[in-house]
């Protein structure tokens, strides 16, 4: 990967274009954006604004359904799930910064269904990286890249905006 390909603004512009195209389709009329806490929630907010949509997007947290609860315990730093409208019968576009193992997405899908039965669910991410441990895929992705398993990629707020950061894990 070159540094340019991980430039947040470039990737965001690409994701915005893909989301805009998806929401034009008839089966996506009345769709709700739901950002996965925390990086995805920031992204969903920005998308909601740039798409000219009213109100706040939903925020969803994986913490009550995580499969590593037994090892990691319960974090209280995550914001709880907040869905401003009923998702029953509505198309839901989940937004996240990075899709990696798929475990967060699995937990979030369980969380989402605790609130009702959406008409359809798709996943939009800034970066789709290798390392999947579950049969989960992103329908929309601004970039699809490969990284060593020892590197973690995530979105960070740096005061003025956002940037994608790689760190060792």
């Amino acid at each position: 990967m070159t540094a340019l390909a991980l430039d947040y603004e470039t990737l965001y512009a690409e994701l915005l274009a893909q989301v805009r195209a998806l929401l034009m389709r008839p089966e996506w009329v009345g769709a709700q954006l739901v950002g996965i806490w925390s990086g995805g929630a920031w992204l969903a907010q920005q998308l909601q604004r740039d798409l000219g949509r009213d109100g706040a997007p939903g925020v969803i947290s994986s913490r009550l359904h995580r499969d590593d609860f037994g090892q990691r315990g319960l974090s209280s730093t995550a914001d709880p799930t907040k869905l401003p409208q009923s998702i029953d019968g509505a198309p839901v576009l989940l937004v996240d910064d990075v899709l990696w193992t798929g475990r967060t997405t699995r937990a979030v899908l369980n969380e989402l269904f605790d609130y009702g039965r959406p008409a359809r669910v798709a996943l939009a991410v800034l970066v789709d990286r290798n390392g999947r441990e579950l049969p989960i895929e992103a329908q929309l992705a601004a970039a699809r890249i490969s990284l060593p398993a020892t590197q973690r990629l995530h979105l960070r707020a740096d005061g003025v905006g956002f940037k994608l950061e790689v760190e060792a894990c």
């Binding site: 315990g73 319960l74 209280s76 269904f113 605790d114 609130y115």
Partner: protein
Amino acid sequence: MLSRRHPQLNKNGELIHLLSIEGLPQSVLTHILDTASTFVSVSDRDVKKVPLLRGKSVFNLFFENSTRTRTTFEIAAKRLSADVLNLDIARSSTAKGETLLDTVANLSAMHADMFVVRHSESGAPYLIAQHCAPHVHVVNAGDGRHSHPTQGLLDMYTIRHYKRDFTQLSVAIVGDIVHSRVARSDIHALATLGVPDIRAVGPKTLVPGDLREMGCRVCHDMDEGIADCDVVIMLRLQNERMNGALLPSSGEYFQHYGLTEARLAKAKADCIVMHPGPINRGVEIDSRVADGPHSVILPQVSFGIAVRMAVMAILAGNEA
């Protein structure tokens, strides 16, 4: 191994048993309250259950009867997807002469993951925590006169919900403080969370002067005790105290220490009135106050479920 100084915390300072509020740092109390706030909304979902304790068994060991507390623990454990077993210990093993530790050893052999313990002897939950298997967590649901930590925590949750900041508050606890494990837990929690003005209010027989050592202001006059306070916590007057010659009669008690609208007018205009229940109308609290606009007695009950969910979820996620 349980640390000798903090039998409730593991070596990383994480909660592994909840035995009393005393000895818990502010960060642990705040973590519980923050976690509880995320569980309040679980009751608003289509599916009112989360899977954090799926496959775990919670044993309610009530050596002393308490339908209400047992029920809220049961609801909390079930909302976390645990299997819950209610044991009527008082009428079975203990009646047959089994010791407390033998009872616990037997239940551990049935693969319990958590014990919720109510006992008339102070310290019984400590004893169980010291002798149970390392993977088992113990929650004190009230022991003797000593402690009732989840009630203390749900009271703190309620206060924070209505008042936001602890550091500017005046809180009056009124009634039979000497016999009350709720009062003791509340006082420790309020002090740890930084409440500057904690008042213990009641007759001399029920509010001893040595409460000053716990950081309380002791008031034997009700009007003085609740003047300008933000929170009034009323305690239940237990009937057996009346028979025990500590008090002349319930009528006279109400006259001096009952919370009426006229008395409540001396507190701040936005004062909240709390009570751990069950309430004795006309003994410690007038119906017009219990059902009035300042009363948050029923929200306390709802918050109690979220707080108990938080405690059980936190314990289950931490290893000894």
